[in-house]
Symmetry: C2
Subunit: 162 residues, 2 copies
């Protein structure tokens, strides 16, 4: 099926998932917005777990925490978005910033800054995806996202030390 | 990312979508089941529209209705499930039966016949997907699905004549 890439299929479904999380009277007001974000983050978490569980045994015997994060930037991003993240920074104390200058879920909605307040809805799933993948790799974390200028965004991963 | 096929990603997200449609107290009882099916069918419809709109212009100038249906069996199934349907039958009066002997969304849940009543939840999205794709190709239809023996299923497409 030409021009019908699998990323497209996934992205189209993701768009519908976001719409459903905020449809039918749900997701209005601050409380509704937070409820929708929690649902989306949870779905991302479980998809991330599912992806990680399908990895070949042994492929993920990373020695260093940084190697695991690089795996997310390169392989997870590649599988989900068909590219790598544009930048990775760390304070070497368990905080990592993954930057994507042209985040696919935001590209679809990046017609103008007036939609900036809508952006969190399109980032919550991916926050969960990162957290779920890391969790299945034995690393507990919290993941948040921020947008300064559409369609660029940053995901901040903070590793929870045991 | 080895063994992390895009179909897997899509299927994992679909599983979460089904779970969300029936989670949080929604989707219990006959009325809830129907409401969930309507939501899933609608999401499938819009994803199908989105896929069809991304096809190259001119690629879909099918002369015959049957050619359009064959396109679904071969190209749409290929893009979404990584294979073709196993069988296509028609009464040559606008009714088509697409059979998949090992439907991926059912394979995941096909541990026993006791789950047969759960099957419609895993078929509704794809009914919508077929209907939405056809709609964007200029063909209005109704699509239903049935299961006789997991994980095989049949999708019945009835073309609505103008």
């Amino acid at each position: 099926m030409p021009a019908m890439a699998d990323e497209t299929l996934f992205q189209l479904l993701h768009t519908q998932v976001v719409a459903a999380a905020y449809g039918a009277g749900r997701g209005s007001g601050d409380e509704g917005l937070r409820a929708g974000l929690t649902v989306l983050e949870g779905m991302g978490f479980r998809v991330g777990q599912g992806l990680a569980e399908r990895l070949p045994q042994g492929a993920l015997a990373f020695r260093e925490e940084l190697d695991t994060i690089k795996f997310l930037c390169r392989d997870l991003w590649g599988a989900v978005f068909g590219k790598q993240t544009d930048n990775l920074r760390t304070n070497h104390q368990g905080t990592y910033i993954l930057q994507d200058n042209n985040f696919p879920f935001l590209t679809q909605m990046a017609w103008g800054q007036q939609y900036l307040e809508e952006a969190p809805k399109f980032l919550a799933f991916t926050c969960g995806l990162l957290r779920g993948t890391l969790s299945s790799l034995g690393i507990e974390s919290s993941v948040t996202a921020s947008v300064t200028s559409l369609p660029a965004c940053k995901f901040q991963v903070v590793i929870q030390k045991a």
